[in-house]
């Protein structure tokens, strides 16, 4: 039985790839050597990993391929996994991490889960005990495939060296096509050691796998979508990670401009649509802006391209966009109708779908313009009333450094410097950065979204810095997340990286949890007060520069200093301890009911009748 995607499926020896370093096609060599060559054939150039017993044959082969495969020795496998994610998210290519069996492999579980939730193309290569010992509870034997089944697109146990060319090609194909995601390749030690003549000319055997990016967009739902949009008086575009993954920003801008529909951008969509664009409204959801969430609750047609109605975006799903007919474009058919019922679903790649929509949509006429203008004016009025960044303006009554000031200073400095990417961790600082920095470019904002993995930022920045040596990579991280994975600064130092600058928003708390405790649990700060080392001294101990900052003036100077320092810099911003992220939608509630900063405004509830509908 043949399948519809077979013609597109490349053979293991993708012809576009450069010739391998060791074109000894007829010579037998070890599985480990074949593994290296297979990775090179797939376009891999960097691996993040840590060796160990079961993966030693692979490490033995690596130096022969050092000119094409750069191995970055991380300090913890979790760091290696997040670094591979950072590499993938910055470049759009498959990130590769390597670990040994047992604890090495289980330490990869968190980044694999993170890549699964955020659809990051990742190949995790793990050593496994010799096949004769499989299932015997051998030393460092862990069923990593069994453990990762729920959080991988697919996985392979390789017991024969001759399977390696096909398996590696399939793994990269699965990880990078359709909705991207993580794939595990678990290779037994004897398969790495066995000597065979590799056959690179093998077909992928993926009958059950469908890459929905390559299929043509069905014209029927596109027509239905255009019809709905034509009738809409208050249309809204919601865009996410899918735009960035498929490189559809140009098509998105063209569609928004042609139709005049305002655009809201999820956390993972930041940068997909330039924030300074007049049609850009900002971020929705739990910490989205009031005017954005109000726009969702008011709109009559919502076109979602490449985001998945995560509960942090929708709040209580039953009360989400109560007046809207919803059009959902997603490359993964299972996302359509999963959480929110849709009127029209379009399966396909965001770029292809937006091209089809662009081709089908009529330019708007005068009457349409007037209607749209009323709608956009209405949202802009709300924006003026709840001016997002205004709410964070410096309070003259406090001398303490505000986290918002740090974000504003970073944002200002960024305008004057060259290309830069920002990696954020998880928590309050992540939301401040998302809210207060200008996001103009796809892949300039890297964060852990779906999984919410604290400890993501420092290693992910390592990966991004290796992938983009000519750009400055700024890390914004809390003192909690920083203490989870800061060991990777040692990796940066060993690699001689100079382009990572780490801004710690140090408030001495696990701040987001503390904020919830303050707002919803009567200020019972259970398990959230947090001490730490002197981060500047810690940086120096790692052999990089450390700066401590307590005032605005020092902050400005430190940011400039960091930018000018040819090396990794850690800045410890001692910020206001109990600053909060506002607005906030309490978990499980309607996004129509937001709490805004009580020191500046009263709570914001929607007027009765707007979002109070019961479903």
């Amino acid at each position: 039985m043949t399948t519809s995607q077979s013609p597109q499926a490349p053979s293991a020896d993708a012809s576009a790839q450069p010739a391998p370093a060791h074109p000894r096609t007829s010579e037998a060599r070890t599985g480990a050597q074949i593994l290296c060559e297979a990775l090179i054939r797939q376009g891999a150039d960097t691996l993040f990993g840590i060796p160990g017993g079961a993966i030693m044959p692979f490490y033995h082969a690596l130096p022969e391929y050092a000119d094409q495969l750069h191995h970055v020795l991380c300090r913890h496998e979790q760091g290696a996994g997040h670094a591979a994610e950072g590499y993938a998210r910055a470049t759009g290519r498959v990130g590769v991490c390597v670990a040994t069996s047992g604890p090495g492999a289980t330490n990869l579980v968190t980044p694999i889960a993170d890549a699964w939730m955020d659809s990051t193309p990742l190949v995790a290569l793990t050593g496994q005990v010799p096949s004769a010992l499989l299932g015997t509870d051998a030393f460092q034997e862990t069923d990593i495939i069994g453990i990762t089944v729920p959080i991988t697109k697919h996985s392979f146990l390789v017991r024969n060296a001759s399977d390696i060319p096909r398996v590696v090609a399939e793994a990269f194909y699965i990880a990078s096509t359709g909705r991207p995601g993580p794939v595990v390749i678990d290779v037994t030690k004897d398969a790495q050691q066995a000597s065979v003549v590799p056959n690179w000319d093998v077909e992928l055997d993926l009958e059950g796998y469908v890459d929905h990016r390559v299929a043509a967009i069905d014209p029927a739902p596109v027509r239905a979508a255009i019809e709905l949009l034509a009738q809409a008086e208050r249309p809204l575009l919601l865009v996410g990670n899918g735009i960035i993954q498929s490189g559809a920003s140009a098509e998105l801008i063209a569609f928004a401009e042609k139709t005049g529909i305002p655009v809201i951008t999820t956390l993972h969509g930041l940068g997909a649509f330039p924030q300074e664009h007049p049609l850009s409204l900002g971020m929705p959801g739990m910490h989205g802006w009031v005017h954005v969430n109000r726009a969702i609750q008011r709109c009559d047609v919502l076109l979602n391209v490449g985001s998945r109605f995560d509960d942090r975006v929708t709040g209580k799903a039953a009360t989400f966009a109560p007046h809207a007919k919803i059009i959902h474009v997603d490359v993964d058919p299972s996302e359509i109708g999963k959480l929110v019922q849709v009127t029209v679903g379009i399966v396909g790649d965001a770029k292809a779908a937006l091209s089809a929509l662009n081709a089908a949509v009529e330019p708007r006429d005068e009457s349409k313009n007037a209607t749209l203008k009323r709608w956009i004016d209405e949202v802009h009025e709300l924006r003026a009333k709840y001016e997002p960044r205004q709410a964070y303006r410096r309070r003259p009554d406090t001398p303490t450094l505000q986290p918002h000031d740090v974000c504003a200073l970073l944002n200002a400095a960024r305008q004057q410097r060259g290309p830069c990417r920002i990696v954020t961790d998880v928590g309050q600082h992540q939301m401040w950065a998302a809210q207060l920095l200008d996001w103009r470019r796809p892949r300039s904002h890297l964060t852990s979204g779906g999984s919410g993995t604290m400890g993501f930022a420092v290693p992910a920045a390592l990966g991004a810095a290796v992938a983009c040596p000519d750009e400055t990579i700024w890390v914004i991280v809390g003192d909690g997340g920083f203490q989870m994975t800061n060991q990777e600064i040692a990796t940066m130092a060993q690699e001689g990286l100079t382009n990572v600058k780490i801004a710690i928003m140090n408030n001495g708390y696990l701040g987001m949890v503390r904020q919830w405790q303050q707002l919803f649990e009567g200020k019972r700060y259970s398990g959230t007060p947090l001490s730490g080392p002197d981060f500047a001294k810690l940086a120096e101990a790692y052999g990089v520069r450390g700066i401590t900052v307590e005032t605005n003036e020092e902050a400005e100077r430190a940011i400039d200093d960091a930018w000018d320092t040819p090396g990794v810099v850690v800045i410890d911003f001692r910020v206001e301890r109990e600053a909060n992220v506002f607005p906030i939608v309490p978990q499980g509630q309607s996004i129509g009911d937001m709490l805004v900063d009580p020191t500046t405004r009263a709570e914001h509830h929607e007027p009765a009748g707007a979002g109070a509908s019961k479903r």
Binding site: M1, P150, G208
Partner: protein, 207 residues
């Protein structure tokens, strides 16, 4: 804020109650394939009422028949389709497939052999073996008839009972499984069913 424009009536979205659905999955005989499929059902919080796996007409693949309790069977089908080792997925509606289940029961006769024989004959079961005072009853029939059989033998001194769960084959279209796969490969509007619509019950197609 006061409302400046009147709003249309809110769109009411209601989730129906869970129902039983029979799903046929053809999957490759590869290590972990079954584990993946069953694990998926568990972690998505659906309930498996029965599960039967065995050979299919095609070497290298198995046919798995699942009876699942779920609110959104479309989501079950879609999630199973995502698995790389799954070749095809279809829901079987009533009336378009042959559904068979086998049950075996051991009954201790208590001077009422005639009564057991009568029940066997009424429910369509056979008495396959008699040893000492025990009778082995066997039935292969539709699930509802097997239900009736099980209920009937419970009136006796039932020593053992085993039943398989349903297996299914579609009589109408022997190539239907292949068609399902191709239908899945061609994205459609989510308004219609992304998998083979003919495999669905009318309620599901209309949803």
């Amino acid at each position: 804020m006061t409302e400046t424009t009147p709003l249309a009536a809110p769109i009411v979205r209601v989730r129906p109650a869970p129902r039983k659905h029979t799903i046929v999955v053809q999957l490759h005989d590869r290590p972990g394939a079954l584990y993946r499929a069953v694990g998926l059902i568990r972690r998505r919080d659906w309930n498996v009422a029965s599960l039967v796996v065995g050979a299919s007409e095609r070497p290298g693949t198995s046919r798995m028949v699942l009876v699942v309790e779920a609110v959104d069977v479309h989501q079950v089908l879609q999630q199973l389709t995502r698995l790389v080792d799954v070749v095809s997925v279809a829901e079987i509606g009533r009336g378009d497939a042959l559904v068979r289940e086998t049950a075996l029961a051991v009954v201790e006769e208590d001077g009422n052999v005639a009564e057991v024989e009568r029940v066997a004959s009424e429910t369509g079961a056979r008495i396959t073996d008699r040893a000492h005072s025990r009778l082995l009853l066997e039935i292969t029939s539709s699930p509802s008839k097997v239900d009736a059989f099980v209920e009937a033998v419970r009136k006796f001194d039932l020593k053992q009972l085993a039943r398989t769960g349903p297996i299914v084959i579609r009589e109408s279209d022997p190539d239907s499984i292949t068609d399902d796969h191709h239908a899945g490969a061609q994205p459609q509007s989510a308004g219609s069913h992304s998998l083979n619509s003919s495999a669905l019950t009318p309620q599901e197609s209309a949803r």
